[in-house]
Each structure stands twice: as C-alpha cells, then as structure tokens.
Symmetry: C2
DNA sequence: CGGGGAATTCATCATCTGTAGAATTCATCC
DNA sequence: GGATGAATTCTACAGATGATGAATTCCCCG
C-alpha cells in the first residue's frame, strides 16, 4: 500500500540528481538552488539527495568541478605560435560557454555562487589562478606570469558576467568573432606586452 | 512597564537603517542580508524596517542607488585631452572603490546581488550601459559607442570582481598605479582603437 | 492640556530551509 | 527461500525568513 521503498529496475537516480543540481546551481546560485528544487528536478525525494551526497556543500563541490585541462589548452593554443594567441584564447573561451551545454551551468553556477559562497570563490580563484590560467600563461610569458594570468582572468570573467549572467547588450548577442577581434588583442597584450613599471 | 512605543529625542533611525542595509547588502548580497541582520545593525526592531521601506526589494532599491554623475566624469576625464584617458578612467574607478567608504558597499552589493536578483542586474546594466558608461564613451568615440561602452564595462567589472569580491591575488593587493599602467591601455584601445570588422 | 499622528516594538504567522531518522520496498547472495 | 543490505520515500524537526497587525509610547499642534 505504501509507496516507499526501492523501485524496480535501474534508476540512475544519482546521476539525475547531479545533473539537476548542476542546472539549479547554474540558474539560481548556491543559495537559490534549494535541495527541494534539485530533488524535484530529478524526480526524486529530497532525502535521497542527502543520502547520496551528505550535505548541500558536498553536493556542490562534488558536482561543480571543472574539467579544465591545462596541458591540452597549451598545445591547442600555442601550436600555431605566439601571434594571435589572444584571439585564440577568447575564441576558445566563448566556445566553451556557447557550445557546450554540459559545462555552461557549471560555469554560471560557480560565478553566481562565488559572490557569496566562500567555497565557490575558492573554485573560481583556482580556475583563474594557480591551478588554471596560470599554467597556460607561464608557458607563454614566464616574467610576471601571476600578474598576467589574473589580468587575463579579470577580463575573461568580466566578459562572461556581462554576456552570460547579467545579459548586457550589445555584448550578450554580439557575434563571437566580433568579440574575438575586439577583446583578443587586449588579452594578447596582457599575455605578451609591456605592463608598465613594477 | 512595556518598552514599546516612541523613543524620546531624535533618533535618526531611518538613516541608520539605510546605512546598515547598505553595509549588509554589500557584505552578504541581497539574499544573505536578512532584515533581522539589517535591523540589528541599526539597533532597531525588524518591523521598523518594514514600516519605513515596505518590503525588502524596495529597501534595496531605495538604498543602493549609485551617485553616478556622467557630466562630472566627462569633464574630469576629458579635460587633459584624449591621450591617457584610459589610464585616467582606471585610476578614477579604483579610487572610488579604494577610497570612498560610503560608495564601496553599494558597489559590492550591486555586483553581489546582480548574480541572482533581477532588480540588481538591472541596476548593473544601467550603470554599465545606457545610463552610465555609455554617456562617457559617446563623448569620446561616437562610432560604435555601445560596443565600446560594454567592452570597457566588462573589463572594469571583471577587475572589481577579481580584486574586491573574490580577492584574487596578486590583483587584490596590487598597487593601484600598477593596475593603471597595466589595464589603462587596454581600456584606451576599447575607447578609441580599432575593434575589428563589424 | 488634550488629541491626533508618527515612531517604535511585540507577538505572531505562514512558509521555506537543511537535515535526520525511521520505515518500506526491492535486489542479490547463500 | 530467507537474510542482508542498498535504494527510496515518509514524516518530522528546529530554526530562519519576510511580512503583518495590534499595542504602546512619545511629539507636536491647537
């Protein structure tokens, strides 16, 4: 008579929860994405979320990790030489946001949550700093690589915020190649140019 | 015996609530800043907040308006001519964040809240777009002023996020003049340079 | 000196939040 | 085929949150 208990067949509930969580974190941020919203999105009882992931924080950290491959990026961006590396980086960055439906909620979620959640801010710092961009920048310009990396990071994160989160026009609906041509040279200067006195 | 009722003398409660609200919104964002936190910060009962401002949203909008004076900025930045206008804009921008203790929580609050609160996103769009930066940019470069304005805005907002909200090193503790020298030319190119094909 | 209105607080509501524990159902292994 | 354990749900709690309405106290004007 009761409807509790295990359901027959393979359910894949855990993966459905993870996907629903990514979507919710991406749309509403850490605070706005409630466990009940996530559970409903996965067609599942809220308690099951805790059963699998323990707490909301652990759920966030388990599910929102970025598949960032610095080695691959280095090869991809530096193969044609140094000239045009700024354009290529912007093109790659926009491509990830525009064309990869699985990665986008992770990125928006991290950015949205980093404003208020220290854990998310840590993820963002890692991506922009030592664990992420820095690896790439150090291979291009060893001198003052930290400063160059965060300058590039600040422009890229500002671009993402304006285009994808705040929806600032005409940035939000600009043609990607227009942005590559506009922003690429600025990035390239951060990467290889003269940054002024220390 | 009861402690309710009006208190003797001038209290300035309304202004204390406004200030406490600015501080709380700046530190915790719209969602994190609860009415109780705001009331406690003002030394006041939570109901008084509603008495004066109606709802939390109206409180936010009443209290978080930016004193942005485009005319003053134009005169200030364009007086010495066009050369170096990028550096001057970055210097002015950093000066507002670094040196004006009253404006800073408003800025952090808008940025923090814009990630999840549509009203705050609107404020941010206004500041970066038609009502704000665009006024300045149009006076400098009439051609493609909208695009130039949002490009400048994206770099400035990214800088603010990295330096003041996420605390990304070495950006967070960099010397302002170092940042003026590093970022100013990029801004200047957005303002006056060639942005590539349309 | 009396009354109207503003300031302030109290008590409270309905709702939502993350989380925990117990109960129920199924799959699998011996 | 009974036992063990995992999957899933139910019920519930304790706390926080935004909001409301009534009560209380004071100021000011006549």
């Amino acid at each position: 008579m009761a409807r509790s208990g295990r359901r027959p067949g393979e359910s894949g509930a855990r993966e459905r929860i993870a996907e629903s969580a990514r979507a919710a974190f991406g749309e509403f941020g850490f605070d706005g994405a409630t466990i009940r919203i996530i559970a409903t999105g996965a067609g599942v009882d809220p308690a099951l979320v805790h059963h699998y992931f323990g707490s909301k924080q652990r759920l966030f950290l388990s599910v929102m990790s970025l598949p960032f491959n610095a080695e691959f990026l280095k090869r991809q961006l530096l193969a044609p030489g140094l000239t045009g590396v700024g354009e290529r980086l912007v093109r790659f960055f926009l491509g990830v946001w525009d064309e990869q439906p699985s990665v986008r909620p992770i990125l928006t979620g991290i950015v949205r949550s980093a404003m208020t959640e220290p854990d998310a801010a840590l993820l963002l710092r890692d991506f922009l700093g030592r664990q992420g961009l820095f690896q790439l920048v150090a291979a291009i310009a060893p001198d003052r690589a930290e400063l160059r990396a965060v300058l590039v990071g600040s422009q890229l994160i500002g671009l993402a915020m304006a285009r994808y989160i705040v929806g600032l026009e005409p940035l939000a609906s600009a043609d990607p190649e227009q942005l590559v041509a506009s922003i690429g040279p600025a990035i390239e200067r951060y990467l290889t140019g003269d940054l002024g006195a220390a």
